[in-house]
């Protein structure tokens, strides 16, 4: 169950924008999300301006739609009045944030889609999902990739095995449908998404172990979560929640 102090998965680690180690990206065996609190602030400030002075309630159930309960600190600082939280998280949060008005019942006044910058809202995306390159290898014309061989290489190419699969919320139906960002270019995910990994066609591009792969995010060249919505028929809310509850979260102020 949800543990409000984040002790469950040690998921919420605060780091500077460039990371303490002086590099912006740390490769791991599993993907991670970056939670951008400046985007969160911009979204919520805009919402608060439009509802000037009214009692404001944010919906932070399901660990703030997978964004992590650390977002509560930022929302409190902006003057959000009340918070709708999971019943199981209520006691722990009340202890941690004695000044906050918490409830497990009721309706939010702040649209979660805009708070978290989901597609279709006026907000800026708060969550960015990245994986890393594990290995790079050749794929010859005619060779199939991953379970069921849904993809066959039309020509000789290079492929990267990348961390992240449907157990981390990268929905299986996205195989052969989406592109990810590697450096400045987008590359297609080929073959079925597996439980914990997927395969990316590099074409003529180069990549090495540890390179960052962006699945979706809010930077100008990042792939958009809107593509995921279009290809899965799932809602943006369930997609970000599905990802954020299962991966490490790095919070950027």
């Amino acid at each position: 169950m949800d543990v409000p102090t984040h002790s469950r998965d040690n998921a919420d680690a605060s780091r500077g924008a460039a990371g303490r180690e002086g590099r912006s990206f740390l490769p791991r065996s599993a993907p991670a999300v970056r939670i951008d609190h400046s985007a969160l602030r911009a979204n919520v400030e805009s919402l608060l301006l439009r509802t000037d002075g009214e009692w404001s309630v944010a919906d932070l159930r399901h660990e703030a739609r997978g964004h992590g309960l650390l977002v509560m600190r930022t929302l409190l600082a902006l003057g959000v009045d009340g918070f709708l939280v999971d019943e199981a998280a209520l006691d722990g949060l009340a202890e941690q944030f004695p000044e906050a008005a918490l409830s497990a019942e009721g309706q939010p006044t702040l649209d979660p889609a805009e708070v978290f910058g989901l597609p279709g809202s006026a907000g800026i995306p708060v969550m960015r999902l990245t994986g890393s390159v594990l290995t790079v290898k050749d794929l010859r014309a005619g060779e199939g990739v991953s379970y069921g061989f849904t993809h066959r290489a039309p020509a000789d190419t290079r492929i990267a095995l990348v961390t992240g699969g449907y157990a981390q919320g990268i929905v299986r139906a996205l195989g052969d449908r989406i592109a990810v960002r590697l450096g400045d270019a987008h590359h297609p995910v080929v073959g079925r998404v597996a439980m914990d990994v997927c395969v990316v066609d590099l074409g003529g591009a180069d990549a090495v172990r540890g390179d960052e792969v962006v699945f979706f995010g809010g930077d100008p060249d990042d792939p958009s979560l809107a593509e995921w919505v279009a290809h899965t028929g799932l809602t943006a809310e369930e997609l970000v929640t599905g990802v954020g509850l299962r991966v490490r979260r790095d919070h950027v102020r």
């Binding site: 169950m1 490769p27 961390t163």
Partner: protein, 347 residues
């Protein structure tokens, strides 16, 4: 939210016994990645150990550490995804894990561990994910033999993954696997373990079993989509997603489980759920709750079985309605949904 995921550890034990008998004399490696497919890793590995399982497939060092922490030093814990050299050394020196190696860079990393790494070399037999391509395999095993001679590693296994696209292609993969085994011998390696098959091929095709069979899905009672039924395989679902009625109005009983709990919203209008009066259609799935066609005498607090053991649809039945597989339905159940571990009364 009134949802909970019930996990029946006795059903797990029965499935483990079916698997053990089926794959013998090969041994069963129980795959426990992703919190034992969402079934609660600590409880699953403890019970599996009590039932005689000695090999655990843990994916990465993080999960490997959890298994080691639960079971201590005797369990054999196999991982096959390592992202950095530091992680490779951690897996060997701190956790004493067996590591699957599918590329030359990781082999060199493992050789830098203080301890002698137990490695399983992976041939790419056609799946083209992880694994060394056949044309690069002779050089790879030659280098592994050098490192073994130098005492840096011990090659204990050769392994691969198959695509299960067709029997014919799987046979080609098996031929590539057998050749890779021979070439490893020629390079001077003497590993004792071969493993190729997962659930489906491990059950259906004896020639794919070799020494170890890596099985996750069938242990949790998850049958293959589009394949034989649970009863035909001899397994049964281990978990059930259950929720309670929170509201009744206008011919609809609303239950406290929604898409943010991991119930895919695309199942709305497709899935039949189990109510006290029998199967009923799931009409709508919202973020926090869902609507079910009401039944006679429906009452607040009534329990509805959404999928899994005792429900009209198993995880795979639900998956087939939206074009996916039971494993995805199982692991999508949110970690925020409480797990309730159930043991039936002792017979």
């Amino acid at each position: 939210m009134t949802a909970e995921l019930r996990v029946d550890l006795d059903a797990l034990a029965e499935n483990l016994a079916v698997i053990r008998n089926r794959v013998a004399p090969a041994e069963h490696m129980l795959v426990v990645k992703d919190d034992a497919y969402g079934h609660c890793l600590e409880e699953v590995v403890a019970r599996a150990w009590a039932e005689g399982v000695r090999w655990f497939g843990a994916f990465d060092a993080r999960t490997g550490r959890a298994v080691r922490g639960e079971l201590g030093s005797e369990a054999r814990v196999f991982i096959w995804i390592v992202a950095t050299a530091d992680e490779a050394r951690h897996a060997v020196d701190d956790l004493d894990l067996d590591v699957g190696v599918g590329d030359p860079e990781l082999l060199e990393d493992l050789a830098t561990a203080r301890g002698r790494a137990r490695v399983h070399l992976k041939i790419d037999s056609g799946l083209h994910r992880n694994g060394v391509r056949p044309e690069q395999w002779p050089a790879f095993v030659a280098r592994a033999a050098e490192l073994e001679q130098a005492g840096a590693i011990e090659v204990v296994g050769i392994w691969s993954h198959i695509a299960e696209a067709s029997d014919d292609e799987d046979d080609q993969a098996r031929a590539a696997f057998d050749l890779a085994w021979e070439q490893a011998q020629q390079a001077g390696l003497r590993p004792s373990l071969r493993h190729l098959a997962a659930s489906a091929a491990g059950f259906a095709r004896p020639e794919f079993r070799y020494d170890l069979v890596r099985i996750g899905a069938f242990a949790y009672g998850i049958r293959p989509a589009g394949g034989p039924g649970e009863a035909e395989i001899g397994i049964r679902p281990v978990s059930t997603l259950a929720a309670r009625v929170t509201r009744i109005a206008d011919g609809i009983a609303t239950i406290g489980v929604g898409s943010l709990d991991g119930l895919p919203s695309t199942l709305a209008g497709r899935l039949e759920v189990g109510t006290p009066a029998g199967p009923r259609q799931l009409r709508a799935i919202r973020a926090e709750e869902s609507d079910v066609d009401v039944w006679t005498d429906a009452a607040m607090g009534d329990e509805v079985l959404v999928f899994g053991a005792g429900a009209p649809a198993s995880a795979t039945d639900a998956a087939e309605l939206i074009g996916t597989i039971g494993e995805e339905i199982a692991v999508r159940v949110s970690p925020t949904v409480p797990r309730e571990l159930r043991l039936r009364p002792i017979r």
